[in-house]
């Protein structure tokens, strides 16, 4: 099969993915490390390589507002942000999901101030886990491109109609270069039908849009919204299968298990660090340790069933969080732990907090995590939430 592979950054891969989906309206405000994505898209529009409108806005708050307005009249829309920009958008994020506007967003995961940092971690998007958006975390540039295409299929599905955020790690993915296959436009057109929404506003069918609801109806609207996000689990699986049949690549739906078949000890992670964990798993497997990786792809909807299935088979689960919910745990851990609590067998658990503000998570550190999980099995280590990469001594 003839393939079209080019050497591009994660940001550019996202831009190519969006271009193939032919959005009608793109509205975004540039912010490091997302900037290259929106620069490329604006160039594509400027050069006439895309038919869509690129709307210049003065802020992220305006960007999401533009996307909502365009979506309400049946336009396919795209925005992108990161960190402070994403947080500035936060009001609109809830608005967009409640309004059932299937906007697709690329978020370049970046730390949140203060201290000011342009480098990556997951505190921006994980702090917005409850805003009603579907959230996927990708591991490499190819997955970023492919998920843009899948995202429109998932978000615009009639039973879902929910916006979707495609997260890629700032700098680690956005600014590193990989060989990425650019799918054929005709195939994408066949895979991705035109956006149809029952809410489309037109002169022929005037609508009362985005109205208020009293206590009598508000719970029903929120129930309906929750059902739609839960329903997306089936749609995600269906879309991934069809994607594989069309493009030859698959991403294993909600999660990907790596060498978990007979594993005793498993590390759970999201995003690009999964690539490093795979390498460590291979090394430790060669040394005879039964270890594996659970790559969580979707944080919302949450892969509860998949985590439970794994928890029934293993003895220890560690969760890497490039995030901390101050005063408790990492958010990925809290969610994983909730699923584990629903199985009958005991699983030793620990939360490893690190990689904050762009600090690398090394192979040696990951290897150490696996050893700590084994130590938990013979009761020589208690379950805990641990900052694993502190450079100094602490008072703990």
């Amino acid at each position: 099969m003839k393939t079209n592979k080019i050497f591009i950054s994660g940001d550019e891969a996202a831009a190519y993915g969006v271009k193939l989906c032919r959005p009608h309206v793109i509205a975004a405000y540039p912010i490091t490390p997302q900037t290259i994505t929106v620069e490329r898209l604006s160039e594509m529009v400027e050069k006439g390589e895309m038919d869509g409108e690129y709307m210049h806005v003065e802020s992220e708050h305006s960007a999401i507002s533009v996307c909502m307005g365009a979506s309400s009249v049946g336009a396919r829309t795209f925005t992108a942000s990161s960190s402070q920009g994403l947080l500035y958008m936060a009001e609109g994020l809830h608005y967009a999901s409640g309004g059932r506007y299937p906007i697709v967003m690329m978020n370049a995961n970046r730390s949140v101030a203060l201290p000011w940092s342009i480098y990556g971690d997951h505190r921006d998007s994980l702090s917005l886990l409850d805003c009603g958006w579907i959230q996927v975390y990708v591991e490499d540039a190819q997955e970023a491109l492919d998920m843009m295409i899948q995202a429109y299929r998932i978000a615009e599905h009639k039973d879902v109609l929910t916006p979707m955020m495609v997260n890629l790690d700032g700098f680690i993915l956005t600014h590193t270069y990989e060989l990425v296959e650019i799918p054929d436009q005709q195939k994408v057109d066949e895979f991705l039908p035109a956006f149809v929404t029952p809410n489309k506003m037109s002169f022929e069918e005037p609508k009362n849009l985005a109205f208020s609801s009293k206590p009598d109806d508000n719970t029903e609207f929120k129930y309906q919204q929750n059902q739609a996000v839960l329903k997306s689990i089936d749609v995600i699986k269906e879309v991934d299968q069809e994607f594989e049949a069309t493009f030859g690549r698959k991403y294993h739906d909600m999660v990907e298990e790596y060498r978990c078949e007979d594993a005793e000890v498993v590390l759970v992670a999201i995003g690009s660090v999964c690539g490093t964990v795979r390498v460590v798993v291979d090394k430790l497997r060669e040394e005879g340790m039964k270890v594996g990786l659970l790559k969580i792809r979707f944080m919302r909807p949450f892969p509860e069933q998949e985590v439970k299935d794994l928890a029934k088979r293993v003895k220890a689960i560690g969760v890497i969080d490039k995030d901390i919910s101050f005063g408790y745990e990492g958010t990925v851990y809290t969610n994983v732990n909730s699923a584990i609590s629903k199985v009958e067998n005991y699983v030793y658990k620990s939360n490893f907090i690190g990689g904050l503000g762009g600090r690398d998570i090394t192979k040696a550190e990951i290897e150490d995590m696996f050893h700590k999980l084994y130590a938990g099995l013979d009761k020589s280590r208690e379950e805990k939430v641990e900052f694993f990469s502190l450079n100094v001594e602490t008072n703990e």
Binding site: G99, R100, P198, E205, P206, A210, Y223, Q224
Partner: protein, 97 residues
């Protein structure tokens, strides 16, 4: 003064009766504003001179003319009393509900 007619709204009994998110075909009013009102305007047709000042000042556009008389759409009137206050002939009085 072609006032749009409200279509009859059927209240949902099943979750699937709800629209997908808060948007719906125009022309339906699930609930009128009448419940908010403590006092309602009553027009003295003898005193009224059809100056239409009440029509101009009504913040909710509830005042209209029908069969040569000033009428008030009580489904929308919230009872603010601006019409009564502004009427140069004191032809509108606010009556307790």
């Amino acid at each position: 003064m072609n006032r749009p007619k409200n279509k009859e709204y059927k209240f949902p009994t099943h979750i699937d009766d709800y629209p997908t998110g808060p948007q719906y075909k125009a022309g339906f009013l699930p609930e009128t504003n009448a419940g908010w009102r403590k006092v309602r305007p009553v027009v003295d047709h003898e005193a009224c001179v059809f100056c239409l000042r009440c029509y101009l000042v009504c913040p909710d556009g509830t005042i209209f003319k029908e069969d040569g008389k000033i009428k008030i759409d009580l489904d929308y009137c919230k009872g603010c009393g601006v019409c009564a206050h502004e009427c140069p002939k004191d032809a509108i009085s606010m009556v307790k509900e």
